[in-house]
């Protein structure tokens, strides 16, 4: 079943999209997503080809991300085959860019590798935190929206 984003929910999400850092506030110990994220259109289902990654920035301009159709079902995958996923493209080890190659994310700084079908889990390498997955929603027109980040983007204490 394809998950779709209702128009109403979409408006709610964009209206709430703010990226403020509250200094000295209480520690937030809730699980992600504990912040308000923008909904950002990444692509339309018709543009997404198996194995051809689409890069975008999310939740802001300094946070590269990658959307990819894996060709195998994935945890959190959208689309008819439930194989379209998106992840932060900053390695959770020390922040280098990861590439989508050969069906997985690879970081060439110290060779951490993450499985995009298994929630971005580190299956080899140094990254102790899994790659943050970007939950996706698809609306009635087939537009794919990034709607949150499940996991902390490297180098930040707060995603937005």
């Amino acid at each position: 079943m394809t998950q779709t984003l209702s128009r109403r929910r979409f408006v709610q999400l964009t209206a709430a999209a703010t990226a403020l850092f509250a200094a000295g506030g209480k520690a937030q110990l809730g699980y992600a997503p504990s912040l308000t994220y923008p909904a950002v259109k990444v692509a339309n289902l018709s543009q997404v080809k198996t194995g051809q990654p689409i890069t975008f920035n999310y939740p802001d301009a300094s946070s590269p991300a990658i959307l990819v159709k894996l060709g195998r079902p994935a945890i959190g995958g959208v689309g008819r085959e439930r194989d379209i996923v998106a992840f932060s493209a900053l390695c959770t080890h020390m922040g280098c860019p990861v590439q989508y190659e050969g069906g997985r994310f690879l970081c060439r700084c110290h060779y951490s590798m993450f499985d995009p079908a298994k929630a971005g889990q580190t299956y080899q390498g140094l990254a102790s935190s899994w790659l943050p997955q970007i939950p996706l929603r698809v609306d009635g027109k087939g537009d794919i929206y990034a709607v949150a980040v499940a996991g902390l983007i490297w180098g930040r204490v707060k995603n937005v």
Binding site: G30, Q121, Q124, S128, S129, W130, L152
Partner: protein
Amino acid sequence: MALIPRRDQLPIPPKNAKVYNTVCQYCNVGCGYKVYVWPVGEQGGPKPSQNAFGLDLSTPQPPLAGQSYTETMHAVTVGRDGQQYHVVIVPAKDSPINRGDYSIRGGTNALTVWSLDRGTQDRLTYPLLRVGDQFQAITWQDALTLMGLLIKGIRDRDGNDDNIAVKCYDHGGSGQGFEDNYGAGKLFFAALSVKHIAIHNRPAYNSEVWGSRERGVHELNYTYEDARLADTIVLWGANPYETATVFYVEHMLPNIQGATVAEKQQVFERGEPAEPGYLIVIDPRKTSSYTVAAQVAPDRVMLLRPNLGTDYILANAIARAVWEKGYYDMAYLQARTDMALFEEYKAKSLKLSVPYAEFMAQAERITGVSRAEIEKAADWIAKPKAGRFKRRTLTIYEKGIIWNMKNYDQVAAIVQLAVLTHNIGRPGTGCGRQGGHQEGYVRPPAPTPGSIYRGGPPVNVDKFLTDGKGKFYWVIANDPYLSTPNNQVFRKRIHERTEKLTKALGAGGEPGTIRERAQKILDVLYQDPDALFMVVQDIYMTETARDAHLILPAAAWGEANDTSINCNSRLLRLYEKFMDPPGEAKPDWEIFKLVGLRIAELYRAEGKAQEAAKFEFGKDWKTDEDVFLAGAEEFGDNRVSEEDEAKLEAENYKGVTYKLLKELGQKGIQTPVRRDPKTGKLVGTVRRYTYKFGTPDGKFKWYGTDDWEGYPAEVAKYLEGEKARQYPFWVTTGRAQTIWQTAYHDRRLPEKALALPLPYVEVNPEDARRLGLQSGDLVEVYNEEGNGTFLVYVTDAVKPGTLFLVMYHWRGTSNSLVSGYTDPKTTIPWYKGTRANLRKVAGAIPSVQQTASVLQQNKFD
């Protein structure tokens, strides 16, 4: 939304957070970490003046150069004051070892602290007593009384301590250090005289490297900088990308990439060529330490894959090629090595009486490595550089050599190759262990001084116990139900023996008081010699503890001050206490002290003051530092010149105090520490054996290794007739990047437990095709020793016809399939070689297959 709990913001340590220096609890590398602790409810701000990092956190950290603070580096714990505290543990940027880098193991240090909202809440918090089929809470008071009455009862009846068997660590890190080791040593070797004692990961009390030590070379002789300076690095049965990760990525890989050439130019002699390094990996598997390096410098990386067990033949063959090509310095050999013994080496190891071509043909046949590869390795290791400068080669070996068959000869052959080529004691050289854990050994003299050539071999305590001997078995901070060889047999036998006592104790009603219980236990132990009492001292309920009669809760890393050295530079640092142990858990040294004092009280009550005094070794130990300082007395006088450093014990720290270590912080000091006779100051030893070797006359002691004798009977039985068809696979075993040892913490962390939910077996694609296997399938791997259920990873890491099993997984240890063979010279097992077969099991465990990644771990292209 996410498979495992994820966070998208983390608390910021406030300016007033308590800050501690420590070192990773896990591997040999000993990466530096910083710990921040502050009460829940408070938080710092993003400006450098508002947080304890002193960083501007309002913009993202720069990649690589910035401070890593990720989801796995924060936890909440509860103090003994009943308040919640944030604990943040991040890699230290001021550590020369890791420079802010970290691995997947150390990156979860914070998650391992005792926390009520995580799996680590399973920590043992008070002593437990088995009553029938239950564990009941008891007080330390009663637990110590029971221990005292039993130990004293046994030694009083026997007149010796031979029925007391112990299995205890000898290492640093992991919450142990010089303090805990010294406590154990005083109780077992000074107060008691325990001779049936085995070390955490093997059946006896022995060095794993007597083959090197008895030559005059302690196994920790190089410094981490040597990995940056070497012309060639040899990784022999060592896979540091996965087991010494930061050492590999921060220091070896930059060398292979050519990023350390400028450092070489500074250190090398004038005119000496300084180029990007070469790497030789010698391993039956195509390990990721090879495949990563092959990505960065394919032309400077070589993989040799000898047949299992044949490494010493290969080392001797490379040495013979070195000899034939004249890649040695006779003046050095004559000045620094025992030339009388060198004749034995030439005859037995180099076999100079056998013509070269014939020798090489034999070596090729035994090892499966071609003469061309052997000669190429000799060139890379020892061929002089342009201008006739000696090549600088650093050889690092680990469990592939140590836990090989013929432990003694394997280790000796490799260190001899290094000395033959003068690859020791110079910058960029060395020949030593990679190490598994960190070290921190200081004890009174051990029961067995050395190998079969030096008063050994030591007793096989596993065999002692499975033979039905011994009455009291004390297992401390290790899990033999996962870690001993021939594990299935061992487990079943210990279960059988402990259950005999349990049943007999319950017969006629459980004894009411501790004194009655102790009396009844002693009665049963002497009525039924097969009955066995077992006490387990640990931080969690282990597999072994299931059969224990008494469980003692111990403190973990960070819950006491301790000191250890790392393996790659013998760097001594203070691991500061940053939180209390949970509940009533205590540091090991304190438990040993209290057991001793209780036994002493019992002797005093009988008027045996002299015997009592022996057990009062800890009466003045108030703090961890008291134990540290007491331990220093075991070391010899360290007022020696730099030229005489070889005379010192590798871990000698005489004169060092906690105060000094606090001042030194992450910089630490490299053991052996000397008090320089000229200046009176304490100085560390960067690199060993520059001037002399560690023997009475300072000369290296050669040894003639054995000829190839084929495989030991325990494995050879699988190579003949019907059994060769029934068990067609060679099996080797080893570690994985993600988990540490028995995964005692990792199995409680979803990041790790979901990634490696079951033990796995690597199968070559050819074998997988033939057998209809795919990654993610479940198979039973079995032989006559034992069996287990393993998840299949199809990978070219193993050759066709060979399987690799991950060690120590809590859901089934590879050691169930390993034989009871040990090297007759050292009593070290061959954990890494046996034969087996596998069969696909019916059905599947879909939940596991859906969540665990089975992508190929050694493929980086």
